[in-house]
């Protein structure tokens, strides 16, 4: 079943990769360039899943998770964090904020799809 997924990343090539992968699987994708942009784009419409980079300008991934958990209409929305190996220390911080699923970059498109399916199929 088609899902609405928000992808938050400051790298446009990464957004493109994720978007292509997800739309190819039939999902609807909303793009945001950083945490602040994401919060601005989330104006009450239903989103099934949020995929977010950790390291971003303005509002980083962890700040975004904290902000989302505070908003009743998004507090139960699953969030997948995209991290690199060097950001493992951020994981504990992200977990404390409420991020539950992690994908380590670089990843294969299939990996991303299977994570999405595990969470919202």
């Amino acid at each position: 079943m088609a899902k609405t997924i928000l992808i938050v990343d400051d790298s446009s090539s990464m957004r493109q990769l994720v978007k292509m992968t997800l739309t190819g699987a039939g999902h609807q994708v909303i793009e945001a360039v950083d945490g602040r942009d994401a919060l601005a784009k989330l104006t009450g419409q239903k989103v099934n899943l949020i995929i977010s980079d950790v390291n971003m300008p303005n509002l980083d991934g962890i700040g975004l998770v904290k902000a989302l958990k505070a908003r009743p209409e998004y507090k139960f929305t699953p969030i997948v964090m995209l991290t690199t190996e060097s950001e493992q220390s951020k994981k504990a911080e992200g977990q404390a904020a409420g991020a539950r699923a992690w994908i380590v970059k670089p990843f294969q498109p299939a990996q991303l799809l299977s994570a999405v399916d595990k969470l919202v199929s």
């Binding site: 969030i79 539950r100 299977s114 595990k118 969470l119």
Partner: protein
């Protein structure tokens, strides 16, 4: 997925396990024949059938599953009904076990196919059902071959069992279990799923955002355990997950039942309805567990009822735990025999190369080098001993098999015979034991058939009505001795002599001792039975037994007192792989004499000898038969003036081997002779010396045989010669 070869390996493992279990089952059954109320034997028997059934299902060996299922059912009924097995029922069960054994033997390890004689099985099961009805405590069996068990198997076509219990926070964290179930559906077919909502409260007490649920899922899938685990990677912190591979052991399911928070019966029923367990297995399993594993639970019950103070229970539990741990530490590891052979072969090579190193060190005379090679040699020696010990198994298992033979054969002949087993813990090489089974069976059958008299004859001879057959094993001077003795009428030497003369084996005037006449039964084509009986006749005589023992580098002897009984005594080397030898030489040729057989070495002048291959010298006033090995093997005559005689003992006989030089003791690995040299008389193998030279190992049994024949030839030509029997 497993490839064909891996599967065959697994199947071969099953075949081995199943034949061992059948063997064990038979022993338990015979135990029950002696003491029908032996609960341990009964549950052991049940377990054996149960395990075979369970594993057979894994390989889709449906006929085996369904057959053992019937046996299992009956045994369970007997156990639960506190009934006993009647001798008649035991007889049928023995035949059923034979059928199980034959099915196991018929499994094709390549294809997994199992041809079955369905008619025979149906007859057996019908007889079984008939007998079972006559026994108090046993409910009548509904024997409908294949019906119920087939249903039991169909559910276990490779289903993974997945148990999930979610933590309360799962849903709040944005996880939806349904998503994981859908994802799981991609890995295979979800054959069963039960949503566990036992802790879900009524609406009034419900926190709707908390999760109260669990899942029991059966998944038909080729996926690996890791793949299945990965489905739940994101919720690992929010659930407890148990994954049982397809067709796990009953114990694993039982363990799962205990681990899960719901009642045993609740989870048990889920597994039963999923077809992973049968109702019977569940009940049986829980009962077995309650009686053996779950003692602590009993302890708790006792304390809570105030029957036992907690401390006493603690102590008892600690003790149980210790003994259980000990059992784990002592648990044997199953190793393929060929791997052990490989190890022993390598150790054998090591023995040789270490000997070579020591030889070189001694040549160079470097003291340090000599010392360290000596240490190496000591260690090699220890390794050798340990490695050889690994091949050693107790002969008890082999002996115990004869309970069945004795029972069956004596019943058939209407004789009452007791089997007495001694020295069951005597160990010997596995390959020796394997090759010993046939000759032993022959000797045992022979003793029952021809040795022990029937009741009337025994009464007339003033003997107890019950005949006695004894199997005994013990160590004696580096050899294993195995005795098969009976208290029957003994050998009739007059008759043997007549027959031997009639068959042209000996000359009518031959002057033979009692013992030599007795030994004639080992001659080819000799049979003492008046009428060839169905049991041990079959045209095979003692000569076959003897050649089997010869092949093991052993010897067989006989002791019989007329009217009192007969003892067959088999002597065998401890192992076939390595021997302690005594190195001698003839010119440039090196020969090894098995050290165990050497009694002394004597130096003598060439003039002392007669110039023939088989002659005599005088040793301390007694004639000693001698073989001139050079002449025997057709080597050029020796020019050495002073020669040596190695005196060897073989059984009761003694003889001298005439050689040139003595080199002393050595430890050596026996290498079989190639096909080309197998016909060589008097040589049993070869070995490579530390120097790289090849030495031949003498086959003493064969040499004695040759010597004996030359003596017989002498006695036939009526030239009086001293008796061979020296001791």
């Amino acid at each position: 997925m497993l490839n064909g070869e891996q599967w065959t390996q697994l199947l071969l493992g099953f075949i081995e396990e199943a034949s061992e279990l059948t063997q064990q089952a038979e022993e338990y059954l015979l135990q029950l024949d002696q003491s029908p109320t032996d609960e341990e034997a009964l549950s052991g028997l049940f377990r054996a059938m149960h395990t075979i059934k369970g594993s057979a299902g894994l390989f889709s060996l449906t006929p085996l599953v369904s057959f053992t299922h019937h046996l299992e059912n009956l045994l369970m009924a007997v156990r639960d009904g506190a009934g006993t097995l009647s001798p008649a029922l035991i007889s049928v069960l023995l035949r059923c076990l034979d059928e199980v054994a034959s099915m196991v033997a018929l499994i094709d390890p390549q294809t997994g196919e199992l041809p079955v004689d369905e008619q025979h099985q149906a007859q057996l099961l019908a007889t079984l059902a008939e007998q079972a009805q006559g026994v108090p405590g046993v409910k009548p069996l509904a024997v409908e071959p294949g019906a119920e068990p087939a249903a039991a198997i169909s559910g276990t076509g490779g289903a993974w069992h997945i148990s999930l219990r979610f933590s309360a926070d799962l849903l709040r964290n944005g996880f939806d279990p349904a998503a994981f179930v859908r994802y799981l559906g991609r890995l295979g077919d979800i054959s069963h799923l039960a949503l566990i909502d036992d802790t879900l409260p009524a609406l009034a007490e419900l926190d709707p955002e908390s999760c109260y649920l669990g899942l029991e899922i059966d998944l038909l899938s080729d996926a690996s355990k890791t793949e299945i685990e990965d489905v739940f990677e994101f919720i690992r912190d929010f659930c407890t997950l148990h994954i049982l591979p397809p067709d796990s052991a009953l114990d694993d399911y039982l363990q799962l039942i205990q681990q899960l928070p719901e009642s045993d019966a609740r989870i048990g029923q889920i597994l039963v309805s999923a077809g992973l367990l049968t109702e019977n297995e569940l009940q049986a399993g829980l009962t077995v567990q309650a009686s053996s594993e779950a003692k602590p639970a009993l302890g708790e019950v006792l304390v809570s009822q105030g029957v036992v103070p907690p401390k006493a229970v603690d102590a008892a539990l600690a003790k149980q735990k210790a003994s259980r741990e000990k059992r784990v530490n002592d648990a044997p590891i199953r190793v393929a025999a060929h791997k052990l052979d490989e190890l022993i072969n390598l150790v054998g090579e090591l023995v040789i190369s270490a000997a070579g190193a020591q030889l070189h060190a001694q040549k160079h005379g470097n003291a340090l080098c000599v010392e360290s090679t000596q240490t190496v040699n000591q260690h090699v020696e220890q390794i050798r001993e340990v490695a050889l010990k690994m091949r050693m198994i107790e002969i008890g298992d082999t002996f115990n098999r004869f309970h069945r033979v004795v029972r069956d054969v004596s019943q058939q002949l209407g004789k009452d015979i007791r089997l007495d087993i001694r020295g069951a813990d005597t160990e010997l090489d596995k390959s020796v034991i394997d090759q010993l089974a046939d000759p032993l069976t022959h000797l045992v059958r022979n003793a029952i058939d021809h040795g022990i008299e029937n009741a009337e004859q025994r009464a007339a001879a003033g003997k107890p009505a019950q005949g006695l057959l004894r199997l005994n094993a013990y160590h004696e001077s580096g050899m294993i001795v195995i005795e098969v003795s009976d208290d029957g009428h003994g050998l009739n030497t007059a008759r043997i002599r007549d027959k031997a003369i009639a068959r042209g084996l000996i000359d009518a005037q031959a002057n033979l001792s009692e013992h030599d006449i007795q030994r004639l039964i080992f001659a080819a084509g000799f049979s003492t039975a008046e009428a060839v009986s169905d049991l041990s006749g079959r045209g095979v005589g003692m000569d076959v037994v003897r050649s089997a023992i010869d092949a093991l580098r052993g010897s067989i002897d006989i002791d019989s007192v007329q009217g009192q009984g007969t003892t067959f005594r088999i002597r065998l080397p401890l192992t076939l792989a390595i021997i302690d030898g005594f190195l001698v030489s003839l010119g440039d040729e090196h020969l090894v004499v098995p050290l165990d057989l050497v009694t002394e070495c004597i130096e003598l002048d060439a003039s002392q000898l007669t110039r023939c291959t088989y002659g005599y010298i005088e040793l301390r006033g007694k004639p000693l038969p001698c073989i001139d090995l050079a002449a025997h093997f057709g080597l050029p005559p020796s020019h050495t003036v002073r020669r040596n005689i190695v005196v060897v003992n073989f059984g009761r006989q003694q003889a001298g081997l005439i050689v040139d030089h003595l080199h002393g003791e050595l430890q050596t690995v026996i290498k079989p002779l190639g096909l080309l040299f197998q016909h060589l008389q008097g040589i049993s193998g070869s070995t490579i010396l530390g120097s790289g030279q090849i030495a031949l190992i003498l086959d003493i049994a064969n040499l004695f045989h040759t010597l004996h024949h030359s003596v017989e030839a002498d006695s036939r030509t009526n030239q009086p010669r001293p008796d061979l029997t020296g001791s």
